[in-house]
């Protein structure tokens, strides 16, 4: 049974790119346009991995990660940040919030695939 990945990004273009890349790799994809919608969809879903942007309206990536880690059933959900940002300060903030890893945009399909395999298998 293929794993399910939830992607969270306020850019429809990025969500489409990710969906295409992840589908090509054989994963099922759920997506959300910001942190608020992601939390709503997590109530009825059990993804195996969460990939989230940082800069989003309503609830950004940092806030989303913190909220997810507050929930017992998602305490061990792997969470990868996928962002244009690369500052050490923001990486540390994501790490403190509970993120598993950090990927810099534009993503490279092979590097993304390797990162996903590492956290899922």
């Amino acid at each position: 049974m293929s794993s399910t990945i939830m992607t969270v990004d306020d850019s429809p273009s990025m969500r489409m790119l990710l969906r295409a890349a992840l589908t090509d790799l054989g994963y099922k994809v759920l997506d959300a346009e910001d942190g608020v919608q992601a939390l709503e969809r997590l109530e009825g879903a059990e993804p195996d991995l969460l990939i989230t942007d940082i800069n989003m309206p309503r609830l950004d990536g940092f806030g989303l990660i913190e909220k997810v880690r507050e929930q017992d059933r998602h305490r061990n959900l792997p969470i990868l940040v996928l962002t244009t940002e690369s500052s050490d300060e923001k990486k540390q903030r994501a790490r403190s919030a509970g993120a598993t890893g950090w990927i810099v945009k534009p993503f490279h399909p092979e590097k993304l695939a390797a990162a996903i395999r590492r956290v899922l298998h």
């Binding site: 306020d10 850019s11 429809p12 273009s13 990025m14 489409m16 790119l17 295409a20 890349a21 800069n55 309206p57 244009t84 940002e85 690369s86 500052s87 990486k91 994501a94 790490r95 993120a99 598993t100 890893g101 950090w102 990927i103 810099v104 945009k105 534009p106 993503f107 490279h108 399909p109 590097k111 993304l112 390797a114 990162a115 590492r118």
Partner: protein, 186 residues
């Protein structure tokens, strides 16, 4: 474009080169760039009076990949850097409006990179639901674009060979990203 006032004395011109992005909320600033087959998207938020422009050529940085998905990944990245920089300055994504320039075909017989760039830009704005309010793309001539970021107004004309005054940029410049697709585990 007809009807636009010429820049007044005291306005600072900031030149943007290929691969760069600049945003500003300073009414005394004009962002300017010269385009061939490259594309420049000028985005502005008329509510918060924040604007910016980028200048990019669709290409996977350093990898030499030219398949459609690679080109799109880089283009989406280039646009996201601009949008994120504007949001950091207070702009709201839902307010954004856009003008696009460039995408000229500069050489006969070569792959029409300009048309590919222009097609990407239009499609991106459509998918992102950002209203395109003006454009000057295609053709065969290089263009000089001058953009008033707080007004959302632009002047675009065929470039002539004359020096461009460069000033130190007071506008926010997005920090360069790490190598493409870099992954770090915590």
């Amino acid at each position: 474009m007809s009807g636009l006032p010429r820049p007044a004395d005291g306005l600072s011109r900031i030149t943007i080169m290929q691969g760069e992005t600049r945003v500003s909320d300073d009414p005394g600033v004009i962002l300017t760039t010269v385009l061939g087959s490259c594309i420049s998207a000028c985005l502005f938020d008329p509510v918060t009076k924040v604007g910016g422009l980028n200048h990019f050529l669709l290409a996977e940085p350093g990898a030499g990949e030219t398949d459609a998905r690679s080109l799109q990944r880089y283009g989406v990245y280039a646009m996201e850097v601009l949008i994120n920089a504007m949001m950091a300055m207070g702009a709201s994504r839902s307010n954004l409006k856009a003008r696009i320039y460039g995408g000229a075909s500069l050489r006969d017989g070569f792959r029409d990179i300009g048309a590919t760039n222009a097609l990407f830009a239009r499609r991106f704005l459509r998918d992102e639901r950002i209203t395109l309010v003006g454009e000057d793309v295609g053709g065969h001539g290089a263009r000089r674009v001058e953009f008033r970021p707080t007004l959302g107004l632009a002047r675009c004309r065929i470039a002539v060979d004359r020096p461009v005054e460069r000033l130190r940029a007071p506008a926010i410049v997005p920090r360069p990203a790490a190598p493409v697709g870099d992954v770090e585990f915590f």
